[in-house]
């Protein structure tokens, strides 16, 4: 491995610029003649736009233009798309309402843009926006999912009667009924998976620059997948063909899924820059982030699990209502279906599963993938069910899980996924040992003697990552393939540039991806640079989400590296007058095995480019590319156990210990992996204890600032105790499973299981705020 190779705790290369304030984010970029956009957004959750009077605004200083939704229609700019087609159980396609980038006729959530002011400065644009008069006719709104599907509810889209997007099913209903009819015990649970606002540290931003001479656009944007952005912007919105549109995602300050999607603002900025003939910049503020960044989660579920007399699970049925908000965002349709219901088997052998998912429109911000995307909802449901079952069946919760673990691999679940490998007992054992599970009863008694309510909660999660095999997702309705690309460019002096279709917005690719090269060639990582985030520099790629960058993106780099090495070996063999089969690569040198003959890698590179002495017929140069399409998902899994105390007087939770035992397959950089787990756990704990995006009955957001929306802070979370158990992923050569989302997927259930254990009552919704816990303790 070497000091900088795979498995080394290498300090992040990118941190120097980040911690010295030298990162380059979209808002840091200033172009000559740049104008500033300010969007005029609906204060109503549902209203008809009867007219927009911008005459006064247009006379104000510095105002360049006021553009409206009607002008978008006139210019034939396309509506936003949803890229995953889902089919309802009756065979009908999902019902999508049109989503124009600015509403010409009807607004359907608070914050939806109706017009944009373009001015010489941000402040002038805001001043002028206050002078634009929008005449709204308010319509009845509905924010609650159950209210939305009732007869007589306000209707959002004519295309979707009853506000229903789809009614989708998976699994074998007959097999499930048969299982339930012979069950010894049935456990039932209703759970709500609370809506979250992602809140990346950097708000979304875009700068669009139209070059009239070349009829070419450049878009700087906060994107997790600039190529996908370019594809969608050109293929569907009629703004520019792909070769006339360059998308650059420079440093991006966090995404968590919310920056996967193509939003109205970047489309409007592009279109407006051509209209006004000057670059247009938009930087969202925190309020706009709360109102318009796609939210996450928001499920309401009823589930029943059937057990036989030996406490083995024999069947599971699930009915979930998923709130999509007012419009179908880019990947939204896949989240509560193929990313959720396909993981309902958890870590358990469940012979029969049936799930029904009903997608619902409401007058709220659109909901889409957010760290974990569907998998946290599945894991939370299953792990709450297992804990509930253990309480009902009066067995130890860890033991009940063990009784039902899948132990033979590969394992085909009844809900599409085929788990390739894992050792669920190993991670459960590691976590139980780390928290001294056996000693818990004594600690609980001790706490009780001091008037404290102590609880312990287990969560054994599994997720499907490394998304995804293109053919498989294509057959399930995906509009794109989910492979990744890489190009390895060796320079004549032997330094290396890796061009990757993955995008780093906090993940540390500039370090981990170099570690692979260091590992293989023995060159220092300072000799390697990672190029990403610019469609003009990098070949087409799919971007970063779904814990795919190492499992898929790095594997693509490996494939390209293998080609480079193969050619370099030939060059070295030729130069050393040896047989290619005898060349080994060690510490940056190509050696003839068993001799002291060697040639340093930079000399091989130079030879490739001078081309003075290459093997006959060989092309000059040393540059290779690869596209890698995974053969399966990867299946990171693990056990989280949380021990905490509840203050009965206030309902406040304090952590005593939190242990995580994860199986991520091979780790490239354990320090970065730990950082990913820490962040994920904090998000999972945030969901369990603090975060909730709330609307009132009329669709007005109640939590549109940090004064009301509780983000976890450092002192809200414990110091985590992490460990790893490893089964290598057989699906990719490096054995990587991915680690980006695990924490957010597994943590919430551990916390709620522990609180409900502490207070001795099983029914408690997230977020378990002190008020809610106190009321649950004191409920009759």
């Amino acid at each position: 491995m070497g000091v900088e190779g795979i498995g080394a705790r290498v300090v992040r290369k990118e941190d120097k610029r980040f911690i010295t304030g030298k990162g380059r984010y979209v808002d840091d970029i200033k172009l000559l003649g740049m104008t500033h956009a300010h969007f005029i957004r609906s204060p109503h959750a549902h209203a008809r736009v009867k007219g927009i009077d911008s005459s006064a605004a247009l006379k104000m200083p510095g105002v360049v233009a006021v553009l409206t939704g009607q002008q978008l229609v006139d210019d034939k700019v396309g509506n936003l798309i949803c890229g995953w087609a889902i089919t309802s159980k009756d065979g009908s396609p999902m019902k999508m309402g049109a989503w124009p980038a600015m509403a010409p006729e009807t607004v359907r959530f608070v914050g939806q843009a109706v017009a944009v002011v373009i001015a010489d400065s941000k402040n002038l644009a805001r001043d002028a926006a206050e002078a634009v008069v929008v005449d709204y006719e308010e319509l009845p709104a509905v924010a609650d999912m159950h209210a939305a599907i009732k007869a007589g509810a306000p209707q959002l889209h004519p295309e979707a009667p009853g506000n229903q997007v789809y009614d989708w099913v998976i699994g074998d209903e007959g097999a499930v009924s048969a299982a339930f009819s012979k069950a010894a015990n049935v456990v039932k649970l209703d759970v709500t998976n609370n809506r979250l606002a992602p809140n990346a540290m950097e708000p979304r931003a875009a700068i669009a620059d139209y070059d009239a001479a070349e009829e070419h656009f450049t878009l700087y944007t906060t994107s997790q997948n600039p190529h996908v952005a370019r594809l969608v912007l050109s293929a569907f919105y009629n703004i520019a063909p792909e070769h006339k549109l360059r998308v650059i995602a420079p440093d991006v300050g966090g995404g968590f899924g919310s920056k996967i999607f193509i939003y109205p603002e970047e489309m409007v900025a592009l279109w407006a820059s051509k209209k006004v003939g000057r670059p247009v910049k938009w930087t969202g503020d925190r309020t706009e982030a709360f109102l318009t960044d796609a939210h996450g989660r928001d499920h309401v579920t009823h589930a029943e699990m059937a057990f036989d007399a030996s406490n083995k699970i024999i069947g599971l049925k699930v009915k979930t209502y998923a709130n999509f908000g007012a419009y179908m965002s880019l990947f939204s349709s896949s989240v509560p279906t193929y990313l959720y219901a396909t993981l309902l088997s958890g870590q358990y052998n469940i012979p029969a599963i049936h799930a029904e998912v009903i997608g619902v429109y409401t007058n709220t911000t659109p909901v889409d993938a957010y760290r974990g995307a569907g998998r946290p909802e599945a894991s939370y449901l299953i792990e709450r069910l297992m804990e509930t079952a253990a309480r009902q069946l009066k067995v130890d919760p860890a033991q009940l899980r063990r009784t039902n673990f899948i132990t033979q691999f590969p394992h085909q679940t009844p809900v599409i996924m085929a788990y390739d490998t894992g050792d669920f007992n190993a991670s459960l054992d590691a976590a139980m040992k780390a928290i001294d599970y056996a000693g818990f009863a004594a600690r609980k008694a001790q706490a009780k003697s001091q008037g404290k309510l102590r609880g312990i909660g287990v969560s054994c999660y599994i997720e499907a990552c490394g998304i995804a095999p293109s053919k498989a997702v294509g057959s399930l309705g995906a509009g794109v393939g989910l492979w990744e690309s890489a190009e390895v460019r060796v320079n004549p002096v032997g330094t290396i540039e890796i061009l990757t279709g993955s995008h780093s917005h906090g993940q540390g690719h500039e370090t981990t991806f170099c570690q692979l090269v260091a590992d293989r060639l023995g060159v220092p990582i300072s000799q390697v640079s990672i190029v990403h985030g610019d469609t003009d520099k990098v070949q087409f790629g799919m971007g970063t989400y779904g814990s795919r960058s190492a499992a898929v993106g790095l594997t693509a780099i490996l494939k390209a590296m293998e080609k480079v090495e193969s050619k370099a070996r030939k060059i070295a063999a030729h130069a050393l007058e040896a047989s290619e089969a005898d060349i080994v690569i060690e510490n940056g040198e190509f050696k003839v095995t068993g001799t002291d003959k060697a040639i340093a890698f930079p000399m091989v590179a130079l030879a490739a480019y001078t081309a003075h002495n290459l093997p006959d017929g060989m092309e000059p140069g040393l540059k290779e590319s690869a596209f890698y399409d995974p053969t399966n998902f990867t299946f990171p899994a693990g056990t989280y156990i949380c021990e905490l105390e509840v203050d009965a007087g206030t309902g406040k939770t304090s952590f005593v210990n939190f242990v995580a035992a994860d199986d991520f397959g091979r780790l490239i950089n354990p320090m970065i992996v730990e950082g990913q787990v820490h962040g994920g756990l904090v998000q999972g704990i945030g969901q369990a204890l603090l975060e909730h995006a709330i609307y009132d009955a009329n669709g007005q957001p109640v939590t549109a600032s940090f004064m009301d929306y509780a983000m976890p802070r450092a002192d809200d979370v414990p110091s985590f105790n992490l460990s790893h158990t490893t089964t290598l992923c057989p699906g990719n050569p490096l054995g990587i499973k991915g680690c980006g989302e695990a924490g957010a997927i597994g943590a919430s259930a551990a916390v709620i299981n522990a609180i409900t254990d502490a207070i001795g009552k099983n029914n408690l919704e997230m977020p378990a705020t002190p008020d809610r816990v106190w009321r649950t303790i004191n409920a009759a």
Binding site: N123, R126, D127, E130, T287, G649, T650, G651, K652, L689, L690, H692, I694, V702, T703, F706, M707, D708, Y709, A710, M711, R713, T769, P770, D771, W774, R775
Partner: protein, 266 residues
């Protein structure tokens, strides 16, 4: 933010006269309330007069039985002041619980009480300790100063210069933090004056701002101990209710925080 003109006053008199000369002026201290409101364009003062650099308005002093905190003293200075910690440790402790470090380095006692947020910390201390608010015009007893939500006895252009606190025999503060804002979801300050009077004030609880809690004062007068409050029940009517706490929950917190404040006071 709307256009505004910034002035840095070097004395209280200069600040008062600048205020008189501008059409719609606002005093600025730590800016932790005023600036966010201006950035959201919910306030657009023509002039902003900065009090934060007036030397006479900064400092913590004790003399005899009185602790004086000058109005532009940041929360951090109070929290870490040896003088404050010695005279009224509960007050220094209260200051250490306000917001987060950034807010404590900037925000001031004068700004806090002038703003009179119904969930702010200082108002509870002023009321329970029977403090006096000193302005450039007069002295106002805490009981007369706070007039309900975001309302005080201050007249237009009047400047708070200091707050003086009689040093109590015992005092304690207990706060349940609002999970998002970190203001008081409910917090209670209890004090026993040197003459034996019991004063208890709760913040974050009532719909009409900081309040004395008579039932708790009476119970503690009879028996200064947390258990004296065991059988007390605070009515939920008139209490705040929002997504972070129902009125019933806040009623419970008034009692529980009072018990913990008494325990802390010793």
């Amino acid at each position: 933010m709307y256009q505004t003109t910034y002035h840095r006053a070097s004395s209280v008199d200069e600040a008062a006269s600048l205020f008189g000369k501008s059409s719609e002026a606002k005093f600025l201290a730590g800016g932790q309330t005023l600036l966010p409101v201006m950035k959201q364009r919910l306030a657009g003062p023509s002039d902003v007069i900065d009090l934060g650099k007036i030397k006479d308005m900064i400092g913590v002093e004790a003399s005899g039985d009185t602790l004086t905190i000058k109005a532009a003293t940041p929360h951090y200075d109070v929290a870490t002041s040896d003088t404050a910690k010695k005279a009224i440790p509960a007050l220094a402790y209260l200051a250490s619980l306000i917001g987060d470090p950034a807010v404590r380095y900037r925000g001031t006692i004068g700004g806090s009480i002038a703003n009179n947020d119904p969930a702010a910390d200082y108002p509870a201390a002023l009321l329970a300790l029977d403090a006096t608010v000193k302005t450039n015009k007069r002295s106002i007893a805490a009981g007369d100063f706070f007039k309900g939500l975001f309302t005080t006895a201050l007249e237009d252009g009047e400047i708070i210069t200091a707050v003086s606190f009689p040093v109590p025999a015992k005092a304690g503060y207990a706060k349940m933090r609002h999970p998002a804002s970190r203001f008081a979801l409910t917090a209670v300050f209890v004090a026993q004056t040197k003459s034996g009077e019991i004063r208890v004030a709760a913040t974050g609880a009532s719909q009409s701002g900081v309040m004395r809690v008579g039932a708790i004062e009476a119970a503690l007068k009879a028996n200064w101990s947390p258990s004296a409050l065991d059988s007390i029940s605070i009515p939920a009517s008139g209490l705040l209710a929002d997504i972070h706490g129902t009125a019933e929950y806040r009623a419970n917190l008034v009692k529980v925080m009072a018990q913990r404040a008494v325990a802390a006071a010793g």
